[in-house]
C-alpha cells in the first residue's frame, strides 16, 4: 500500500469502521513504515474524537417548547375535520376582513343610490304630503276668515283643515294641470298681479271651496251654487303663497 491508497482508508481506520481485514492489515503495515501517514492517522483519530465530542454535546439541544405549541396550534387548524369551519391564517383573515368591508361599503352605496333614486322618482310622480298652504291674499281679505266669501280666505281655512274646504296637492303644473278644454276659467290672480315668474317652481293644488267663493272671484254665481262645493286649482308659488286660482269645468 502506498501513501495515496492509505489516504483513502485513513478515516475508516481511525473510526474503527468496517474495513476489509486484509486492507486494514496493509494499512497498519504502511503506517509502521511511513511517518507522514502515521501523522495522518493520528490526525484522523483526533478529528474523530473531536466530532464525537461535538455529537455527544448536541443531544441536549432541542427546539424550544414554543415551537411545539405553535405546531400543535397549526395541526389543530389544518387537520380540522371537513365541514367544520377553519379559522383562516392571519394574513388570509386580514384580506377577508378588508374584502368584507369593501363589499359592505359597495352594498351601502348601491342601497343609498337606489333609495335616493326611488325617492326622487316618487317625488316626481306621486302627490306629496299636504303642507299648509299660506295664502297671500289681500290683507283685508285674509282677516275675514273662512266662509266670508273670499277665495283666499277659503283657501287658508281649507289648509287649516277647519271644514271650510279641502286641499289636494297635485304637484308640478306642467304635468298635472287640467287640460285646457276642461277649464272654465283661466288663472285669476289672487293679489291683483300675476307675474310669469310665479309659474316657475310653482305647484298646482286642487281645493274644494263653497260655491259662494265664485262671487268673490267675479264669476257667475247663482243661489244654488251657494250650497254646493266647487273644485278649484290654486297656483302655489315657490315661497308657499297662493298666487292664482282657476276653476275647472
Amino acid at each position: 500500500m502506498n501513501c495515496q491508497e492509505f489516504e483513502l482508508i485513513v478515516h475508516e481506520m481511525a473510526r474503527e469502521q468496517p474495513l476489509d481485514a486484509a486492507v486494514r492489515r496493509e494499512g497498519l503495515a504502511h503506517v509502521s513504515a511511513c511517518a507522514d501517514c502515521a501523522g495522518l492517522l493520528a490526525g484522523a483519530y483526533s478529528l474523530g474524537a473531536g466530532l464525537r465530542a461535538l455529537a455527544a454535546e448536541s443531544p441536549l439541544k432541542e427546539a424550544p417548547a414554543s415551537v411545539e405549541t405553535a405546531l400543535l396550534e397549526a395541526f389543530k387548524q389544518l387537520t380540522r375535520p371537513a365541514g367544520v369551519r377553519r379559522d383562516p391564517p392571519r394574513w388570509e383573515s386580514a384580506r377577508w376582513v378588508m374584502a368584507k368591508w369593501v363589499l359592505a361599503a359597495t352594498a351601502a352605496a348601491v342601497l343609498a343610490a337606489v333609495t335616493l333614486g326611488v325617492r326622487y322618482w316618487r317625488a316626481q310622480r306621486t302627490i306629496p304630503e299636504v303642507q299648509p298652504a299660506r295664502v297671500s291674499a289681500p290683507a283685508a281679505a285674509t282677516d275675514r276668515g273662512a266662509g266670508d266669501g273670499n277665495p283666499a280666505a277659503h283657501l287658508a281655512a281649507a289648509s287649516r283643515g277647519n271644514g271650510a274646504g279641502s286641499i289636494e296637492r297635485r304637484g308640478g303644473i306642467a304635468s298635472q294641470a287640467t287640460p285646457a278644454a276642461k277649464l272654465a276659467t283661466d288663472f285669476l290672480p289672487l293679489d291683483g298681479i300675476l307675474d310669469p315668474l310665479d309659474f316657475e317652481q310653482a305647484e298646482l293644488v286642487r281645493v274644494s271651496l263653497p260655491g259662494s267663493a265664485l262671487a268673490d272671484l267675479g264669476l257667475p254665481f247663482n243661489e244654488e251654487a251657494e250650497t254646493t262645493t266647487i273644485t278649484a286649482e290654486v297656483l302655489i308659488a315657490e315661497d308657499g303663497t297662493a298666487r292664482a286660482i282657476r276653476i275647472p269645468r
Binding site: L40, L47, L51, A53, L54, E62, A63, L71, L72, F75
Partner: protein, 203 residues
Amino acid sequence: MIPPTLGDDDLLRLAMAGDEEAFLALYRRRQGGIYRFALHMSGHPDVAEEVTQEVFLALIRDGSRYDAARGSVSAFLYGIARNHLLRRLERDRHSVPLAENLSQDRERGMADGFFLSTVDPLADLTRAEVIERVRQAVLALPAAYREVVVLCDLQELDYGQAARVLDCPVGTVRSRLHRARALLTEKLRALRQAEMKGIGNRE
C-alpha cells in the same frame, strides 16, 4: 394513548388522519435530530428553531406525500430540513462566512506541509476547546461537505440514509465524506499551526 413502540410510519399515518397525539409523539421523537442538524448546518439557534418549525409544518400540510418506498420518515424530515437550510444558506451567503475556497485550502495546506504534518490538531486542548474548534471547522466547510459530516458523523445516519436525504448515490456520500474529513483535518491543523506560531513569536 400512543404506544411507544409504534413506528414513525404509523404515527405519521395516524397524524394525517387527524390524531393530534400521534403527531405530538412523532414530533417529540424527531424534533431533536432535525433541530441539531439545522443547528450544525447554520450555527445559529434561531435558524435551527425556524427550520424545525418549517419542517413539521410541511409535514402537517404535505405529510400525505411521504412514500415509505423511498425512505424512512426520518429521512423524509431531514430532506425537508435540508431544502429549507440550503435556501436559507443561499440567501445568507454574503453574510455568513461558510467556506474558504477548497482548492486554495488544499494547495496552501500541501505547500505548508500541514496535510501530511504529524501535528495533532487538537492536542493539549480542553474538551470545551476541542468542541468549539471542531464546530467552527464544520461550519467553515462548504455546504455540500458540511451536510454529509453533520448527517453521518454528528447525527450518525448510515450512508444509505444520508444518500436518501441528499438524494444522491451512496458512493457520492462516501466520496464527499472522505473529502470533508480531509478538509476538516486540514483546517484544524492550520488553526493549530497558526496558534503554535503565535506562541513561538511571543516567547
